[in-house]
Symmetry: C2
Subunit: 296 residues, 2 copies
Amino acid sequence: MVFARGGHDVVLWDQDPAQVEKAKGHIARTLPEMQSAGLLEDAESTFRRISGAADLAQALAGVDFIQENIVERAEPKKALFTEVERLAPPNAIISSSTSAIMPSIIFGELATRRRCLVSHPLNPPHLAPIVELCGADFTQPDVISRARDFMAGCGMSPIIVKREIEGFILNRLQLAVLNEAFRLIADDYVSAEDLDKTIKDGLALRWSFMGPIETIDLNAPDGVADYLERYGPTIRRVGHSQSAAEPWPEDMGARLDAERRAAVPREKLGDATQWRDRRMMALAAHKRAQERKTPH
Amino acid sequence: MVFARGGHDVVLWDQDPAQVEKAKGHIARTLPEMQSAGLLEDAESTFRRISGAADLAQALAGVDFIQENIVERAEPKKALFTEVERLAPPNAIISSSTSAIMPSIIFGELATRRRCLVSHPLNPPHLAPIVELCGADFTQPDVISRARDFMAGCGMSPIIVKREIEGFILNRLQLAVLNEAFRLIADDYVSAEDLDKTIKDGLALRWSFMGPIETIDLNAPDGVADYLERYGPTIRRVGHSQSAAEPWPEDMGARLDAERRAAVPREKLGDATQWRDRRMMALAAHKRAQERKTPH
């Protein structure tokens, strides 16, 4: 959907052809919703740019950009990329959606690894613009910039991870929050429900349109340097206490599950996921309208 | 604005009477904007509930709830609360907006400390519903519940911090993000601009209407326990690497300032703050409309 929205012809392939049909059904339902929300000009012509391929060779014939989204394990990805490298045009960019495997691991043994990088999106990519681009030492700088331009042209918000690091940027920030959240809940400072409110009714209101650095830049009269002058020692002190804290307990999942299943029973998780995606779409439309109104 | 919106008569007092007039001017401008945005039914009658007092005794006569917002240092607060305790009705709740000083410190020496707690809001409180309620050991449980009901009745989203901890909940989560952000930028994994994008174009889209625990509850087929089963070891491993990382450098403020001032010159910080508040108001209106549409 993202690439077709950007005006590109897109070919889908899966080792199970039923998955391609399933994906096309999902896309056929979703694109008109995006058009209704003002997020897409023409759902029908966008859909017509998407086709399925009978085999990998057909899928790769003449392509410029390849995005892999198979199971999140290194070995199957490496095996697939060996095939892809053999069948794809020599200048096509080869990209993986992995959120957790380093590009040096999955691409390191390829003959044409210089054209390979990770392009890590957030789910669902057609509603969350972020995509983290991360190459390995062997990735050509030109490949990173071509990938960035390609993604930006598809309406994404690409960022450059300059060197490999576990979790890239987005998940390292998410995991910093989760580790502290788990400790605060486990040590009974706060319930999970109340902790969630500090984010959704507090911090993330600003963060949904400004990053954390932009946010603190407006939280002291003279900007971010002034902010760090005032609060730097507190930030370090709290950071030390977080680093020195006891790890969260092994039964954390069970504890959180008890609280969450009281709020959303297991059989309602599917409904909750649909609700989330409706909210994501409404928020994307809201942000687009705001960004048109107040360029900044 | 928050308390008057909740239907309460509000009396403002400041040691400098000009500040009260300044506040009333700000309120007179802001309430109609809130009404236009659909966030308030009647700006005029709300404004009429707010008055100024000539002295502290007049301000405190017959009140039920007292919210202090003076300079963020313990000594002036303690001195003020000694006065407040003497002049206020014996059952009135005494509350401080402090973001950083523990309730045991500012209230510990008061004779009626059992009715005292911290109610820490986020700026601007009339657009960010969160308020963290934190008592000390000596605070009566009944005072916490009365404060919670009072804040909820004013349209706030109160949470209970069950025990004192530096930074309470909201700032501990913010500082976990900032410490990791500073390290990633200092170690040249990412620019500040790109790091901000991972939040505003990524993580905080979901977080603006779901907390981090609700978010991961929908990120594995069987909910949060399943999520921790799958990703718990990664979360711990990344957490360890964050705890073990070198501290961010002393010149962090200067580095960030260079990047931020290129994006927003110092003389435009005021405009940027107004833009932020407009976006906060538009987002509050968006969230209210969405919450009416999709109760969850």
